[in-house]
């Protein structure tokens, strides 16, 4: 019997996923457990695995389609089996027209302004609308456009050392050729000896090629990028933001770090400024619950716990892993969890739970040397804290003499529908107090 492949639900709050890539094509043989497609969830790319061995058939969606979870996206057939008929699989109204492949492939909306042949070819190759530029009349995408696109070597540039054979490395080293400048023709873009020799033999042609292709790079808006775009637009359009800034003297915080790094209870232990900030912000949020709330319909929901989202930059964008119940955790535990989350974020090892349920966000760009900045609230949260660099500045001491102090600017951005200005001001004052004199937290 035809086995249905459904769009999996990876996270508790996830309702739909975008298909990022079909790893197998209609008609491909698959083994149980083989990844057959990459889809995006809230912020992660996940793989959909074959639930059974057989032949992938009746693929219903193309790259770029957003599919509600649990909807059938394709089938696994055994040899000799046919796809189920429409009647057996009548899909609910929400789903795009299901079942037979031809039905999908003739849907004009799917491939936009393209000739029928080009449309079919794009369907087969899993090329989404908007990826190709048409060269035909009125910008119509033609067969030649699709062929040219498919013929392009699709090279995934991995992070780290260039993939090259030992022979390619030797020839490159002999000719002082930078491997990074070469496109590999081997499996997965691996640089072969011939690639290096061609490069060395035709430096002029290579330069000419570069000049000729001086066209803008077009990156389709998909996956995490698209989700960030949607969330930020929603936030910007719906939340009237108010912004407050305060400078904080980090003298005490710095001393605290130094003392801790030397010895705590006989053990040296380090923590980051972000960990300290996270701890103090969690304390301040409990004192000002509207800062830690969300607007749900006609209600403001004050949350009895702090799940702190902390922004981490990764190659494809920014990801905000969440430290659950920050208010119950000590600074060293926060530090360790932050380190672990950041590391896993950079290695693409986060699981959906790591990103879910944040109640407030701290975005720290201090390490980039940014003095101060504003951020956009991450819905459904009601506020966000933007943290800048620590800079040595002259400030007056009690005798009005200039002294050098480490100063950090923090900016709080809040949703004025939910939070009044005075609350943000009090919250920020508490953050400042906590950092300048952590003792207040035990009073």
């Amino acid at each position: 019997m035809a086995k249905e492949i459904i769009m999996p639900k990876f996270g508790f709050t996830q309702e739909e996923s975008e298909i990022l890539e079909w790893l197998k094509k209609d008609g491909d043989k698959v083994e149980k457990g083989d990844p057959i497609a990459t889809v995006s969830t809230d912020k992660l790319s996940m793989e959909v695995e074959a639930p059974e061995s057989g032949i992938l058939s009746g693929v219903r969606y193309k790259v770029g389609d957003v599919v509600p979870v649990t909807k059938i996206i394709a089938y696994i057939l055994q040899p000799g089996e046919a796809l189920p008929t429409d009647a057996e699989t009548a899909a609910p109204a929400l789903t795009p027209k299901p079942a037979e492949v031809p039905a999908v492939s003739t849907e004009p909306a799917a491939t936009g302004n393209a000739t029928p042949v080009a449309q079919r070819m794009m369907q087969d190759a899993g090329i989404g609308a908007g990826v190709l530029q048409g060269s035909g009349p009125d910008g119509k995408i033609t067969k030649a456009d699709v062929e040219a696109y498919i013929a392009q070597p699709k090279v995934e540039k991995p992070v780290g050392k260039a993939a090259a054979t030992p022979a390619a490395r030797r020839v490159a080293a002999e000719g002082s050729i930078n491997l990074a400048s070469i496109t590999g023709s081997g499996p997965k873009g691996r640089i072969q000896e011939a690639d290096v020799r061609n490069m060395a033999a035709a430096p002029i042609a290579q330069t000419a090629g570069t000049t000729a292709s001086a066209e803008p790079t077009r990156i389709p808006l998909r996956g995490m990028r698209r989700i960030i775009a949607e969330n930020m637009t929603k936030s910007w359009q719906q939340a009237p933001e108010i912004t407050f800034q305060v400078d904080i003297n980090m003298d005490t915080a710095r001393t605290l770090r130094e003392v801790s790094a030397k010895k705590v209870n006989g053990v040296m232990k380090k923590f980051s400024y972000t960990a300290l900030l996270t701890k103090i912000v969690a304390w301040a949020l409990l004192r000002h619950p509207t800062m830690n709330s969300r607007l749900e319909g006609n209600e403001v929901v004050l949350l009895p716990y702090v799940h702190m989202g902390v922004g981490v930059a990764i190659p494809d964008g920014l990801i905000v892993p969440v430290i659950k119940n920050t208010e119950q955790k000590g600074i060293f535990q926060i530090h360790d969890e932050l380190k672990d989350l950041a590391e896993r974020a950079r290695n693409n090892k986060l699981v959906p739970e790591d990103l879910e349920g944040g109640t407030f966000t701290i975005s720290n760009l201090g390490m980039y040397g940014i003095d101060r900045f504003t951020a956009i609230i991450n819905p459904p949260q009601s506020a966000i804290l933007a943290v800048g660099n620590i800079v040595e500045k002259f400030v007056p001491d009690e005798n009005k003499n200039p002294v050098l102090k480490p100063i950090m600017s923090v900016v709080a951005i809040a949703d004025h529908r939910v939070i009044d200005g005075a609350v943000v001001a009090e919250f920020l004052a508490d953050v400042k107090k906590g950092l300048e004199n952590p003792g207040v937290m035990i009073l």
Binding site: T165, P166, A167, G186, P187, Q192, E193
Partner: protein, 328 residues
């Protein structure tokens, strides 16, 4: 030159060395009256008598022990284990005694013995009579391991093994006994520890042993029709292993495939690949070095399954083609 079969070439080597050197004697199961399970010793008992062609009891440990002991006292024994699989029963004699004695006695004693070991699958003899265990002995310092693929190599290497003062494990292949090739009539030896380039080519290097040499040559002919020129190298002796022609070839071709019948995991191919990676040929590799070997399973009795358990010509063709086309 006249042609002999692999079996006849081995017979001739035994016959000539027995005629020339009366220290040479044969011992094994059913090698005398019956002439050997594969007919290698044929009528030698009639020619040389029951003292020099000894039908042993069914005790492989006894055969190996008699070889080690008589070799130490100055004889030149050539033992036969009817199916090389049963060499497992000789392990103590070979690994702890034969391989170590010269070393432990500071060179005052030597063990000039040869153990002939017919091996390999493809005869429908199932799991206990089809094994390829040569690499077990490659791992034992003090033993030489020889594995000829042609009648010419079989005669020259067997004569060299008998003349050698060290214990030599001589792996024959049951499917090769009937293959024919030119063999000189006179006594000649081939050096132990010299690899042989059996076919020249510029696109890819195939290193193969025993019956897989023959299959690789057939595969190379097929590949040549597609314009792929494979160089085929037969190490002939697995230990000591002569890497020079192999590295030289890879420096030319940039691609290498190692083929043997024994199971892949822990097999001789791993050693060859490791030595390639360690050598100067590393910097000339333009693709991963691939191994094509027997499946990691006992040899099945079912003839179809047995066929697929060892690399066949079509497997070598396909794997080589992929390697050359840049699939790997």
């Amino acid at each position: 030159m006249r042609e002999l079969t692999y079996r006849e070439a081995l017979y001739e080597a035994l016959d000539q060395s027995m005629k020339e050197d009366e220290r040479v004697f044969l011992i094994g199961e059913d090698i005398g009256v019956y002439g050997g399970a594969f007919g290698v010793s044929a009528d030698l008992q009639k020619k040389y008598g029951r003292d020099r062609v000894i039908d042993s009891p069914i005790s492989e440990a006894g055969i190996a022990g008699a070889c080690v002991g008589s070799a130490i006292t100055g004889m030149r024994p050539v033992g036969e284990i009817m199916f090389s699989d049963f060499v497992v029963l000789c392990m103590e004699q070979l690994v702890l005694q034969a391989a170590k004695i010269r070393f432990m006695f500071g060179g005052k004693a030597k063990v000039p013995m040869v153990l002939r070991l017919p091996g390999g699958s493809g005869t429908g003899a199932a799991a206990q009579h089809s094994g390829s265990y040569e690499n077990w002995f490659v791992h034992v310092p003090g033993l030489k391991v020889v594995m000829p693929s042609t009648p010419y190599d079989a005669k020259g290497l067997l004569l060299a093994a008998i003349a050698d003062d060290n214990p030599v494990m001589f792996f024959e292949n049951k499917l090769l006994y009937k293959t024919k090739g030119p063999v000189p009539e006179e006594m000649y030896t081939l050096p132990i520890g010299k690899s042989n380039v059996v076919r020249e080519g510029k696109d890819v290097t195939i290193v193969a042993t025993s019956v897989e040499v023959i299959r690789s040559l057939e595969a190379a002919d097929k590949l040549a029709e597609e314009g792929i020129e494979a160089e085929v190298i037969d190490p002939r002796t697995l230990n000591p292993l002569d890497m020079e022609p192999i590295t030289k070839s890879i420096i030319k071709t940039g691609k290498a495939l190692v083929v043997h019948e024994a199971a892949k995991t822990g097999g001789f191919g791993g050693e060859v690949v490791a030595r390639i990676i360690e050598s100067e040929a590393f910097a000339y590799l333009d693709a991963p070095v691939r191994r094509l070997a027997g499946l990691d399973m006992p040899i099945p009795y079912n003839r179809n399954l047995e066929y697929h358990a060892a690399p066949q010509v079509e497997n070598i063709v396909e794997e080589t083609r992929k390697l050359v086309q840049g699939v790997y």
